[in-house]
């Protein structure tokens, strides 16, 4: 009887964290903050549910413990992979907009000294205009998650 009460309490604990995680996924303003909310569902929420299930169904405790350990190990890895993909996509978008600015600014006839220094700091400035356009196209293609086609390469 006491075991049932404790088990149902653990189930309610897990349900509370599941509800809070889903609420955070809906309401949070940013991708990374939403990831923070949904990480709680996998660790606290699901682990509470598994502890409650192990208390209510003691014959299956080994399988439930296995499932709990597996989820506890793999769900932070999955969350980290999604966060890394968010970060990578932001990096690609920022570099595309920066290189588009560089490609669109007018070429100066007589570069001043500090202007030349500023451009020498930038690796992309040594490339020609068409090469920069190529890079922009390739990264826009990467943003659209398509594989770069090997046949349509212009310069060998």
């Amino acid at each position: 009887m006491l075991l049932e009460f404790v088990g149902v309490g653990a189930l309610i604990f897990g349900l509370f964290f599941c509800a809070v995680g889903v609420l955070g996924v809906i309401r949070m303003p940013d991708s990374l903050t939403r990831l923070h909310a949904s990480g709680k569902v996998a660790t606290l929420g699901l682990f509470g549910l598994l502890v409650g299930a192990a208390l209510l169904m003691p014959s299956a405790w080994l399988r439930l413990l296995t499932l709990g350990l597996f989820v506890l190990l793999t769900s932070p890895v999955a969350t980290h992979a999604i966060a890394a993909s968010v970060h990578r996509r932001r990096e690609i978008a920022a570099s595309v907009s920066r290189q588009r600015e560089i490609a669109e600014e007018p070429a100066e006839k007589e570069p001043t000294a500090e202007r030349a220094d500023a451009r020498a700091m930038d690796v992309t400035a040594v490339l020609s205009r068409s090469r920069i356009q190529d890079i922009i196209e390739a990264q826009e293609r990467a943003l659209r998650h398509q594989r770069p086609d090997a046949k349509s390469k212009r310069d060998p």
Partner: protein, 109 residues
């Protein structure tokens, strides 16, 4: 079977009924709540502004499904459903990792 009929024994019978049904009722209510949590989670899959948001919401739905399968094992009293939950967790991990790599790098391998 009321108190007026059976005295305090009737109350004891009510308490026994509650005691035997309490855990099962609570499990079924929690299962219902978990299933209803799937609807707001799928909102983020449909609306989510970028692709990682949708992937993250699908991952969240899979986690909720693992919990639902475990609660279903409790309701039915079938231990073998937990094995299904383990398999779902393994495949969801591999799928999430590979899709996350695909949408950031443009390829999986």
């Amino acid at each position: 079977m009321t108190i007026s009929e059976n005295g305090w024994r009737g109350l004891k019978a009510y308490w026994d009924m509650f005691e035997s049904d309490f855990a099962q009722t609570a499990i079924q209510l929690i299962l219902l709540a978990l299933v209803s949590l799937l609807i707001p989670a799928s909102y983020r899959v449909i609306v989510g502004p970028t692709l990682p948001d949708r992937l993250q919401a699908v991952d969240l739905i899979t986690t909720l499904l693992i919990g639902i399968i475990v609660m279903l094992a409790l309701v039915e009293g079938t231990e073998n459903f937990v094995d299904m939950a383990i398999a779902l967790a393994a495949f969801a991990f591999v799928g999430t990792i590979s899709i996350a790599r695909y949408i950031s790098e443009g390829r999986v391998f």
